[in-house]
């Protein structure tokens, strides 16, 4: 009994701590700036006004569109590239392939801050010959984030449990290897793709440092860049800022809630094998 009270007590406190900043954010989005600074914790009726002010003062719609372009293309391409590789590493085994895999894993140890300057100069060089790929393009914001060793690792781990006989059956039935991949592997690994999609989309939607470096003109900015400039203005309208943050958080939160079940299942497939392997 005591244990139960303790468990629920701890979990309720953790829940309140986790949710409070959200509640405050949502409540503040419905209040006047003055009320926000005075610590009002009750919902107000100013959301529509805040929303109108937001549209009038900041280019949030273009920023949302930019973010959507970047995140959706990153998610689709990342999942394709990483799952092809994860499949390749797990299904076709050879010693030299494992060496390549381990080398790729080393890239997880490289901090982005160390890559930032050389990447910036690389895209600077590209700008001179192909301006549509260079600095201040959304493509430049996408390219370096497309392939992560983590995602390849994630797909490889999750593939370990894959029933390989099905693949062989497909091959015998005359499917090409790409056919086997797209017609058998991809549909079977739905939960893994869902978990990977959530992780990638959220990371891309929320990415800040590289877009900050590479996207320079205001009309190219993504949502985190916009929020960041709002947060540093001198005479902030808190109601408007909170409304902007609510809108910025909504897409990632919605995707998470819609796909939550698959996410948990996908993560389980990943962690299970991690444990058995050692």
């Amino acid at each position: 009994m005591l244990k139960k009270v303790f468990s629920y007590g701890v979990l309720i406190v953790a829940t309140i701590v986790s949710i409070f900043p959200f509640l405050w954010m949502v409540v503040s989005a419905t209040n006047k700036s003055v009320d926000v600074t005075q610590g009002r914790l009750l919902p107000g009726s100013h959301f529509v006004e805040n929303f109108k002010n937001l549209l009038a003062t900041v280019d949030i719609v273009p920023a949302l569109i930019n973010s959507a372009k970047v995140s959706i293309s990153t998610t689709i391409l990342s999942l394709l590239i990483a799952s092809l590789a994860g499949y390749g590493f797990e299904i076709f085994k050879s010693k030299s392939k494992d060496v390549v895999f381990n080398i790729l894993l080393l890239s997880m140890m490289i901090p982005f801050a160390a890559l930032m300057v050389p990447l910036f100069r690389m895209f600077g060089t590209i700008s001179q010959t192909a301006p549509f790929l260079g600095i201040d393009t959304l493509t430049a914001a996408v390219l370096p984030t497309l392939t992560t060793a983590f995602l390849i690792f994630f797909f490889r781990q999750s593939t370990k449990m894959f029933p390989k006989d099905i693949l062989e059956a497909g091959r015998i039935d005359g499917l090409s290897e790409l056919g086997v991949f797209f017609r058998i592997y991809v549909p079977t690994m739905k939960t893994t793709y869902a978990a990977a999609a959530i992780i990638t989309f959220m990371a891309s939607w929320n990415n800040y440092l590289w877009p900050l470096v590479v996207l320079q003109s205001p009309e190219k900015q993504t949502i985190p860049l916009l929020i960041s400039t709002l947060g540093s203005s001198y005479a902030p309208d808190f109601g408007v800022i909170m409304t902007a943050i609510v809108i910025a958080t909504l897409p990632a939160a919605l995707i998470f809630f819609i796909m939550q079940k698959h996410f948990v299942a996908g993560m389980m497939g990943f962690s299970k094998i991690k444990r058995e392997e050692v």
Binding site: L11, A82, I91, S107, L119, N206, A248, T249, M267
Partner: protein
């Protein structure tokens, strides 16, 4: 592992040597794109940064200056402060967060617990916010006349407002609280998924042998989760060593340089002060070295427990 080997063997058994070469080629073609992209966007820039770290100059006019940058690094007070701050975040935040995440995941793994899904979602929720968005929220929550101070004073925990963002000590604490809030749920999900894969009969056997919940936690849960704990502590360490968004948006590195991190210093050196890409590259190698050192330590610690 085993099943993969058998399937390769069967495919070998009824095929000629030609088929093997073909399969190998197809296998390689599946991993080519990813490997090429990682080489272009990770390894090539890394080598480029190494070369740049021996160069100096403003903007893109770089000249080779040998080890000058490395000599400058060791005497640079801002760099030393940034390293100290980063290490402080690391040694306080990562262990606290990992323990907290483990603890919560064990509570949530209780079969008889009600509202499990609700608690899990609520505690994971901070992970869906962008680093920038929650940083801005925390900046206001922890302002001198922010809501945290208001509540602390109403509850009479403190008699005057805490200078969360303007006192060097409290500013660091604010950053630690912020990162812990954001990432505990994320790590908890990893533990929770692994816990659900542990056979409950192990715990039942331990209970019959008279093991207390605390003993079960330290003698069963932690050893069983060791690989995933290692994985999360390494990723958290790498994350903390790269800390940028929060500091940039909560304190801007201040007061003074009290919350400045290495990533932020690199950013300032490259894009805020007169750009010195060469020296910025030198500083970035400092993070690389720290990540390698800390990861080796963590592997060693985990390995020793195994023996």
């Amino acid at each position: 592992m085993i099943s993969a080997k058998t399937s390769t063997n069967t495919s070998v058994s009824y095929s000629t040597k030609k088929r093997i070469t073909k399969t190998t080629l197809i296998g390689w073609s599946f991993i080519t794109l990813a490997s090429v992209l990682i080489c272009i966007f990770y390894f090539y820039p890394m080598v480029h940064a190494l070369i740049m770290s021996f160069q100096s100059g403003t903007g893109t006019n770089l000249k080779f200056t040998g080890l000058d940058n490395y000599a400058r690094l060791l005497k640079d007070p801002t760099f030393i402060t940034a390293v100290k701050n980063t290490v402080i975040y690391l040694i306080i935040q990562v262990p606290v967060m990992i323990f907290l995440a483990l603890f919560l995941s064990v509570l949530l793994n209780d079969k008889n617990l009600k509202f499990k899904g609700f608690f899990r979602t609520a505690i994971f929720l901070p992970c869906v916010t962008s680093l920038v968005a929650y940083s801005v929220i925390f900046k206001y929550l922890f302002g001198v006349d922010g809501i945290i101070n208001m509540m602390l004073m109403k509850l009479s925990f403190v008699s005057e407002p805490i200078q969360w963002l303007t006192d060097p000590f409290w500013a660091k604490i604010t950053i630690v609280i912020a990162i812990t809030w954001r990432w505990t749920g994320y790590n908890m999900i990893f533990y929770l998924s692994s816990l659900q894969n542990i056979d409950s009969s192990i715990y039942e056997a331990a209970k019959i042998d008279g093991a207390s919940p605390i003993q079960q936690f330290f003698k069963i849960t932690i050893p069983m989760l060791k690989p995933i704990i290692l994985f999360t502590s390494i990723t958290s360490t790498i994350g903390t060593l790269q800390l940028f968004d929060e500091v940039m948006n909560i304190t801007k590195g201040g007061p003074g340089n009290a919350t400045m991190t290495i990533s932020q210093y690199i950013y300032n050196l490259s894009f805020k002060y007169t750009p010195d890409f060469g020296y910025a590259a030198t500083v970035s190698y400092a993070i690389v070295i720290m990540i390698v050192v800390f990861s080796i330590i963590q592997f060693k610690v985990a390995g020793d427990r195994n023996a």
